[in-house]
């Protein structure tokens, strides 16, 4: 049964990558990559259960947090062009 779930997750990851490749705007790409990251977390968790090594869940936890920070960082970069603190007058996310 884990195989089914894994196949579904991999299909979803492929679709998300397709959108990240096609995506007309940068926001489509960020959305698709965010979704890809979420699916990575699920895939790691399912693989951990399938191989009976639930220690993999620590990696999944790390990926869940890293994905969020990555998306916000890329959004800030796409808006300001730098990673520094926004100056006065700039609208923060």
């Amino acid at each position: 049964m884990f195989i089914t779930t894994m196949a579904a997750i991999i299909v979803t990851m492929a679709l998300a990558l397709l959108r990240a490749t096609l995506g007309p705007t940068v926001f489509d790409r960020i959305l698709a990559i965010n979704m890809f990251g979420t699916k990575t977390v699920l895939l790691i968790a399912v693989i951990g259960f399938m191989t009976r090594r639930p220690d993999f869940l620590d990696l999944a936890l790390l990926y869940a947090l890293m994905n969020f920070i990555g998306v916000v960082a890329v959004l800030r970069f796409s808006k300001y062009g730098h990673f520094a603190e926004p100056e006065a007058g700039e609208v923060t996310l």
Partner: protein
């Protein structure tokens, strides 16, 4: 009893997989960024939630389940925040949402 827990876990996993693939198809077929967020939202809430709940039934009452609860908690906090930031950035960038009824839409 084991059989029952396994069945519930499998049902959650399969329904979660269906939701995940639905969101994947949605992110390909929907017309613009704001619409595609619906597809991403489905996979982030129902897909991830049901798959992780299914895994929790497999884990039983142990540290594994506690970690799964933490993963679910962080996903449920971070993915709406990321979507909100994305929508705000897209609007601020000047991307107009697609509106079919031009008079009703602003």
């Amino acid at each position: 009893m084991d059989m029952l827990v396994d069945s519930i876990s499998w049902i959650c996993l399969v329904i979660g997989s269906l939701f995940a693939v639905t969101g994947g198809i949605g992110i390909i077929r929907l017309p613009d960024v704001y619409a595609r967020m619906h597809g991403a939202g489905i996979t982030d809430t129902m897909g991830a939630g049901l798959i992780l709940i299914g895994l929790m039934f497999q884990g039983g009452a142990s540290l594994v389940t506690a970690k799964l609860v933490m993963i679910l908690f962080f996903l449920l906090i971070t993915s709406p925040t990321a979507s909100h930031a994305l929508a705000r950035a897209a609007l601020h960038h000047g991307l107009e949402p697609l509106v079919t009824n031009k008079e009703a839409g602003s």
